[in-house]
């Protein structure tokens, strides 16, 4: 079953290897080591290792991937930590980081959705003019996420003298609640819009088909009991019993020359 196959997470790696999150490590060596650990099927007794939640919870993301939009590592770590607060690891299963959500968001930023390629983007603009007209920002979604993440870092430094990803979960929640309420200004974004975008993108990353970079190993679908696309359910749909079916995604569905 899926739980038994649970892969060695970045979080576990940080604990056992002693690599501090703030540390800069040579890319090739680091990637090589982590890659081999991450892709192994080595089982770990996570319960024993999760005593030190403070230092590990907010750090990093699975490392067998790479970012292409967020240039500064600290920005990306902040994004990752925020997604994990929004969708945390718990008894139900993996959180946003283990599911690859930070990389999902990074990729979305670099494609049409993040670049607002399907939006009407002609002026005049006034993002403060209305709270009921949907997207009115001049900046793109990608820019809004970057601006917001930078503000998360600034607020964390100003109020707590630390990076967002080094704060404890309760403090992180408090900061995100301020952003959600629109109490923190994010350049170009109306009150609460950055958080709302971050929240939506996080949930989409948890539950979109794994081909987009999130929902790793169908972890999101397995938790919510969604099996993914099939040819049809005509033989099951009248059933009184809930059908628990192992998830498959587009890679399987399109396989074999579909």
């Amino acid at each position: 079953m899926a739980d038994e196959e649970k892969k060695f997470s970045r979080r576990d790696f940080l604990k056992t290897s002693g690599v501090a999150a703030g540390g800069i490590v040579g890319g090739a060596m680091f990637g090589g080591v982590v890659g081999s650990l991450y892709t192994s099927d080595q089982e770990t007794d996570t319960a024993d290792q999760e005593t030190d939640t403070e230092s590990s919870l907010t750090h990093g993301a699975p490392l067998d991937d790479a970012r292409t939009y967020f240039s500064r590592r600290e920005d990306f770590e902040t994004l990752a930590a925020a997604t994990e607060v929004i969708y945390p690891e718990d008894d139900n299963g993996p959180g946003a980081i283990e599911l690859g959500v930070p990389y999902f968001i990074d990729r979305q930023c670099n494609e049409f959705w993040g670049r607002n390629a399907r939006e009407y983007m002609m002026g005049p603009y006034d993002y403060t003019a209305s709270s009921t007209h949907g997207y009115q920002a001049k900046i793109t979604r990608a820019e809004m996420l970057l601006n917001g993440v930078r503000r998360l870092r600034e607020v964390s430094q100003e109020d707590h003298d630390d990076e967002f990803y080094d704060l404890d979960e309760d403090t992180q929640i408090g900061i995100l609640e301020d952003f959600e309420a629109g109490d923190v200004e994010v350049p170009g974004a109306a009150g609460g819009d950055f958080f709302s975008l971050l929240r939506t993108m996080t949930i989409q990353g948890v539950y979109a088909d794994p081909v987009y970079g999130g929902n790793r190993d169908y972890g999101g679908w397995r938790m919510i009991q969604f099996p993914g696309p099939r040819m049809g359910w005509i033989n099951e749909i009248e059933s009184e019993e809930f059908q628990e079916i192992e998830p498959e995604g587009l890679r399987t569905y399109q396989g074999g020359g579909m």
Binding site: D90, Y120, T132, Y135, I224
Partner: protein, 585 residues
């Protein structure tokens, strides 16, 4: 300079049910027809292997790219309208088949009362029942006159259904038997029956058997895969124009479909009072073309039908100050006052809600139209109460948390995983009325990528919208409680129209009627002022019925196609005698 192309008999703008039906019927009749589609060419294989919630439900893959064209929106006549910028809040179908490819398939006929809503309301309740600010109108056609066109569309589309126990007896049965019953639908029906209501299986554009339509097009049995609404069907199992009318039209050498043909103007001869063709841009090359035609048919979405007439200087723009003019008047639609109801959370029952089909559902008509006494009610009209099983994928289902649950963090995650497939919602598909203060015109501030003004929507609720929403919420709550949900949450009546255009049911502005003082087109959808110009689609609805609009758009398209042939073959001029000729030039 635009290149002038060879003249054709008919040019049709748009390829949804409206343009598709007209194209097929005129192609069958031997007319030289050119259909122009603004979007890309889509064929069945575009929808095979791409069952992807994010792409179609959250990234709006087959909705119009708003980069070059959207609408602006405001509530009050003295406000500055803002553009609706994101497809999250503006979803307009595009590409071959238009919105009729991503439709869900829910099929209803409007009621006899609804086509004569003004006169029958006066007959039953007196003229005082109609609020002063409401432009309540008859359609200029009766249900009895519409019936054959409904039937024609339903048989073309292969609709699967059963007789609504409260509706007029059908002349012919539905062409296909109803869809399967699932545990959630059964629960709804049993609860409704317990309350003395009359539930039945929703009629569906999803095939329940392999079906050959009267044009010889073959549709396949629906597999209940759930990738239906906002998606295109991968199996020719949901009726759409690609599987039916466009295919039929394409069998004829006298039909040509051009994609990426973005029509910018109706060419109009003011002296003769005739349309002479259309001007369009090839969106691949940016080059402009004039397509001359004997008959011009606008069959685009309601927004585009209105805007093209306005940009072309055809018709008299409605002005809310003077209340003069007809074009853009009576703009209406099922905005955020419709589809409210009640949500139930079931602790001990988990439903297979990820399985489904666009129009898999149960419904009832006890509170539709004037099927219930309105003497002591503070609104007119009604709607269906529906439980739908579209098939809900993971992102959508993750929203199913009771109202007091946070929408992120540990508590959210736990609750959303628990309730994802333990949540049922029923809703009221209510009527939407027209008012003097709601209309469309050209925006003074915002333009499309060619510099033409965007369409501006001015819309706010009347009392009828809030009151009908409240009534629906109460009725849905009664049913959901009877269904035995552990937690029942009633919807809340919205304060005001919220500028969200995500449901596709936006209608009016080029409305039909029997009086040119209050309508733009006659009952054949022929423009009162311009004999060879037909404007087909939801733009013709004087007010919105209490059901999904698609079948009525399809039926009206058959009516229009008949009228166009009459106009071309038998009698030039107006096909209908106007009730009031004062405005006719």
């Amino acid at each position: 300079m635009a290149e002038e192309l060879d003249r054709v008999d008919v040019v049709v703008v748009g390829t949804g049910w409206a343009g598709g039906v007209v194209s097929a019927e005129l192609a069958k009749a031997g007319k030289d027809v050119v259909a122009l589609e603004k979007g890309e060419e889509k064929v069945r294989s575009d929808y095979i292997g791409v069952k992807d919630e994010l792409r179609f439900d959250n990234r709006y893959d087959i909705m119009q790219n708003l980069r070059g064209d959207t609408v602006t929106s405001r509530n009050e006549v003295d406000e500055t309208a803002l553009p609706i910028r994101s497809p999250q809040t503006m979803q307009i179908g595009i590409d071959t088949g238009g919105a009729s490819v991503h439709w869900a398939g829910a099929t209803y006929r409007y009621w006899p009362y609804e086509f004569e809503m003004r006169s029958q309301t006066i007959d039953r309740y007196g003229e005082d029942k109609i609020p002063e600010d409401m432009n309540l109108q008859d359609w200029g056609i009766t249900y009895e006159e519409m019936e054959p066109y409904y039937e024609q569309w339903e048989y073309m589309a292969g609709i699967a259904g059963e007789q609504d126990p409260l509706a007029p007896e059908r002349n012919q049965p539905w062409p296909n038997p109803p869809m399967m019953e699932t545990p959630s639908l059964r629960l709804f029906k049993e609860a409704a029956s317990n309350l003395g209501l009359h539930p039945y299986q929703l009629a569906a554009g999803n095939m329940t058997e392999n079906y050959e339509n009267p044009d010889g097009e073959v549709l396949n049995t629906c597999m209940y895969c759930s990738y239906c609404t906002r998606h295109g069907c991968d199996f020719d199992a949901k009726s759409d124009p690609i599987a039916t009318v466009i295919k039929t039209a394409n069998r004829h050498d006298n039909f040509e479909l051009r994609h990426k043909a973005n029509v910018r103007r109706v060419l109009y001869d003011e002296d003769e009072n005739m349309a002479t063709g259309v001007l369009y841009v090839d969106e691949n090359t940016g080059l402009e073309y004039e397509q001359p035609a004997d008959v011009v048919v606008l069959a685009a979405f309601a927004f585009a039908n209105n805007r093209l007439l306005m940009l072309s200087g055809i018709g008299e723009q409605y002005d809310p100050e003077t209340r003069e003019g007809t074009l853009g008047r009576n703009f209406n639609g099922q905005y955020n006052h419709a589809f409210h109801g009640a949500t139930g959370y079931f602790e001990d029952e988990q439903f297979n809600l990820y399985m489904g089909a666009g129009a898999l559902g149960a419904t009832l008509s006890d509170y539709a139209a004037d099927n219930f006494d309105h003497s002591d009610l503070d609104f007119l009209g009604g709607g269906a109460i529906e439980l739908r099983q579209y098939g809900f994928a993971a992102i959508t289902s993750s929203n199913n948390v009771p109202g007091d649950t946070p929408n992120w963090g540990r508590e959210y995650k736990d609750a959303s995983l628990h309730y994802a497939y333990r949540t049922l919602t029923i809703w009221y598909t209510s009527n939407a009325m027209s008012y003097w203060h709601n209309y469309v015109d050209l925006d003074p501030n915002y333009t499309d990528e060619y510099g033409d003004p965007l369409l501006r929507v001015t819309y706010k609720f009347g009392d009828n919208e809030r009151n009908i929403a409240e009534f629906g919420i109460e009725r849905c709550t009664e049913i959901m409680e009877e269904m035995g949900a552990d937690t029942v949450e009633s919807g809340s009546v919205p304060d005001e129209f919220n500028h969200v255009y995500s449901g596709g049911h936006y209608t009016g502005g080029v409305v039909m009627g029997d009086d040119p003082e209050t309508s733009v087109v006659n009952s054949y959808l022929q423009m009162w002022d311009v004999d060879n110009l037909f404007v087909v689609g939801g733009s013709a609805f004087p007010q919105h019925g209490g059901h999904h609009p698609t079948p009525t758009i399809g039926a009206l398209a058959y009516r229009a196609a008949e009228g166009i042939q009459m106009y071309m073959d038998e009698e030039e001029g107006q096909l209908v005698q106007a009730k009031n000729r004062r405005n006719i030039t």
